[in-house]
């Protein structure tokens, strides 16, 4: 039980922070909670024996992607009216349906996980080396393809984001 404590703690934090993300009215608050959640998840990764993933989670996710979000939030220049409006949009009434759906999904997944619990052997640490070997061994092609994935994202984002400020320009 005690050995399990770090996992439980980080898991609790992650769930709580995620819940806060979903329920916040102010975007920047939500983003910060998201960062918290991601950091908590990084802890979970570490507990699970995936230090490389934990590090990437912190650097790329919490670091890079979230910063991107923060920039955008800054650019949008949201203010008090926005958070007030946001509050009316997340009135309790509209939570019922989605909440039910999410609960059912969780129940079904939990049920499946409990019924067919994946065997829990000892957790061995899979270190960066192993990951690197896998990544540049059998999955090297995927890495190359991932570059095309990023290229596609790049071209798309470039295409969409160009001339964003002069809407009337040809």
């Amino acid at each position: 039980m005690t050995a399990n404590l770090p996992f439980l703690l980080s898991a609790l934090v992650a769930v709580w922070a995620t819940f806060m993300v979903v329920t916040r009215a102010v975007a920047i608050h939500a983003l910060l909670y998201l960062v918290v959640a991601l950091l908590a998840l990084a802890c979970v990764f570490d507990v699970l024996g995936a230090p490389f993933a934990a590090i990437l989670e912190v650097i790329v996710y919490a670091g890079a992607i979230m910063v991107l979000f923060v920039f955008v939030v800054m650019m949008l220049n949201l203010g008090r009216p926005d958070s007030l409006r946001e509050n009316t949009w997340i009135a309790p009434r509209i939570w019922i349906g989605p909440g039910l759906l999410a609960a059912l999904l969780l129940a079904a997944l939990a049920d499946a996980l409990v019924m067919a619990a994946p065997g829990g052997g000892r957790i061995a640490v899979i270190d960066t080396r192993q990951v690197g070997l896998a990544l540049y061994g059998p999955y090297v092609l995927m890495v190359e393809l991932a570059s095309f994935l990023l290229l596609a994202g790049l071209v798309s984002a470039f295409r969409i984001g160009r001339h964003i400020r002069d809407e009337d320009a040809p």
């Binding site: 989605p98 059912l104 999904l105 129940a107 499946a112 019924m115």
Partner: protein
């Protein structure tokens, strides 16, 4: 030679009809008249020649089969287009071509001035051809061609003056009412064909081929249905009075002399079948009697001269059916012949009258015409006398007497009814004669009767008076020319009961005389206006005892009303419903796409969750 003649005789009017039809109205009217009358005259002459040949050197069995071609031969069923010449068909041919020729001659005069005379004669000649096919056929299916063909011509000719809507309605009514009978007849044919495998009359009538019992009864009943409708007997009599909408020669030829007697001919031709069906025989007799009384009663109340004659025709046909029902085949045919003569005569005389009084047909608007048109008066009187059965001097007396005698032997009640009918017959025809030809003049006649009309009148008058002499009761003179002629077909004439004969004869002679006397008492010429009786009984009688109204109320109206309600076709609503359901579904699904991305995500989630929930915990 003998074998060649029957087809040739049929061909004469048929060719004329074809030429007249194909000329499509371009033929000048005189040519049309000459062609039609000539063709039928030629047919009549050929028939006479045929008769002479046949009688002088009869074939061994008094029957000659002329097979023209196989009509259909499939699946064990075989029908041929074939003619049989035997005494019965010979007599019928003589009537059809002889009377037909005279009526065509008469029509040449009667229809003068009508622009559509070619169409008229096309139909008339076609009718003669069809009627000849009817009487000559040796196969019932072939007979059916003629049977329907005459019905068609009847339809075309009743509605000849088509501009009048009522004429068209009358024509349709005639065709459809007879068609109901035709359907029954067809069912009878189907039954027989199923049993026998063919409809050859000779095969059919071979003893033991069909046997008796319910099958024979059913077949006979169905055939009787066809005969009743064709011959305007109760309960199908309603079409004939209306059929008087056609030109008078049509009434004379089709609705008095020939077509309406087809039913009589059919039963006489198939009498062995009917003999095997005693119930149907009884029904035939009873229906005949009922018809003759009802129609005679109706005739007594009519005001239209042609309708009087129409009801009279129904009534006289009732006599024939009575005769058939009592097994007096010869008497029926005898009456058929004499009736064809005197009724054609009456119609033609009436037609002559009608032409002269500007197409006035109401007898109460006529009167005193005897002085203006003595010849027509004489002809009408001769016909009326024959119809009434004036004893000894008229043809009608002898034929009716034969029927009465037979009825007495079958059932005295039938005889009594028939005797009452004879009385009524004399009464109504005398009424007609008295009102039309005697008394004060109410409508002044103009013009004069043409020779082409007068000659047939004269000829038929003579026949109407003397035609009966070919067949006399034993009590008067043992002359049995007709019965003996028909014996090979209809069997030997039944032996007459000698002791009752004279008494019956006397009764039969007195009834018409009494009728004439009563008529004289009621409608003798007197000054002042006369009007038809107008009490309830008379109105009912005038309306043909309400059969039309009842049929209309019970059959026609509900049928049409239901049809009208369902005019848009009940089943047609089903696709509409389906279409509406589809549209509804489409709208529903379209509403799902309300453009809100959250909603879309919701559906995705819902689908997933539903699948998961169902799968994980089934």
């Amino acid at each position: 030679m003998l074998a060649l003649l029957p087809p040739l005789i049929v061909l004469c009017p048929l060719a004329a009809a074809t030429i007249l039809l194909l000329s499509a109205g371009r033929m000048p009217p005189p040519a049309a008249r000459v062609l039609a009358a000539g063709a039928v005259g030629l047919a009549a002459a050929l028939t006479l020649w045929l008769a002479v040949l046949f009688l002088s050197a009869p074939p061994p069995t008094y029957r000659l089969d002329v097979v023209l071609w196989h009509w259909m031969r499939v699946g064990g069923f075989d029908a041929r287009i074939a003619f049989t010449l035997d005494p019965l068909s010979l007599v019928m041919m003589l009537v059809v071509t002889g009377v037909g020729f005279l009526i065509h001659l008469y029509a040449c005069g009667y229809m003068r001035g009508d622009p559509d005379v070619a169409r008229f004669f096309a139909c008339m000649t076609l009718f003669v051809a069809a009627m000849l096919v009817l009487v000559l056929s040796s196969d019932l299916l072939c007979l059916y061609i003629g049977w329907e063909g005459v019905g068609l011509c009847s339809y075309l000719l009743i509605g000849f003056w088509y501009a009048e809507a009522a004429n068209g309605a009358a024509a349709r009514k005639a065709f459809i009412v007879t068609r109901i009978g035709d359907a029954a007849l067809l069912c009878g044919l189907l039954l027989l064909a199923t049993r026998i495998g063919g409809l050859d009359i000779a095969t059919l009538l071979q003893p033991g081929h069909l046997g008796g019992g319910p099958v024979a009864e059913a077949a006979a009943a169905l055939l009787l249905g066809g005969a009743l409708a064709k011959s305007a007997q109760v309960p199908f009599q309603v079409w004939l009075p209306d059929a008087m909408a056609g030109p008078t020669p049509v009434s004379a030829l089709i609705h008095a002399a020939t077509m309406v007697t087809a039913g009589v001919y059919l039963i006489a031709r198939l009498h062995p079948l009917f003999l095997a069906a005693p119930t149907v025989m009884a029904a035939t007799a009873v229906l005949g009697l009922v018809t003759l009384l009802l129609a005679a009663g109706s005739a007594l109340a009519q005001t239209d001269i042609k309708r009087i004659l129409a009801f009279s025709t129904i009534s006289q046909l009732g006599y024939m059916f009575l005769a058939l029902g009592t097994g007096a085949w010869g008497a029926a045919i005898f009456h058929l012949v004499t009736h064809a003569i005197f009724k054609a005569l009456l119609f033609m005389a009436a037609g002559a009258v009608i032409l002269r009084v500007h197409h006035q047909q109401d007898i109460f608007r006529m009167g005193g015409l005897g002085r203006a048109m003595p010849g027509v008066f004489a002809a009408f009187a001769a016909g009326a006398a024959a119809l009434a059965g004036l004893p000894l001097v008229t043809a009608g007396f002898y034929s009716k007497e034969a029927i009465l005698q037979q009825a007495w032997h079958a059932a005295p009640l039938l005889w009594a009814g028939a005797l009452l009918g004879a009385f009524l017959t004399a009464l109504y025809i005398s009424r007609c004669l008295l009102i039309v030809f005697l008394g004060p003049v109410r409508t002044a006649p103009t013009g004069r009767t043409e020779a082409s009309m007068a000659i047939p009148l004269a000829g038929l008058s003579v026949l109407a008076l003397t035609g009966g002499l070919i067949e006399m009761p034993n009590a008067i003179a043992p002359v049995h020319l007709l019965f003996r002629l028909l014996a090979p077909v209809l069997g030997p004439p039944t032996a007459e009961d000698a002791e009752g004969g004279a008494g019956l004869l006397l009764a039969g002679a007195l009834a018409p005389l009494a009728g004439i006397a009563v008529a004289w008492g009621l409608w003798r010429p007197r000054a002042g206006a006369i009007a038809p009786a107008d009490d309830g009984l008379a109105r009912g009688a005038r309306a043909g005892w309400g059969f039309d109204a009842i049929y209309g109320l019970l059959l026609v109206r509900p049928f049409l009303a239901l049809g009208w309600l369902n005019r848009r076709d009940l089943f047609d609503r089903v696709p509409d419903l389906l279409a509406a359901a589809t549209r509804w579904g489409a709208r529903l699904l379209g509403r799902m796409q309300d453009g809100r991305v959250r909603r879309y995500a919701g559906w995705i989630a819902a689908g997933t969750v539903a699948a998961l929930c169902l799968a994980v915990r089934p």
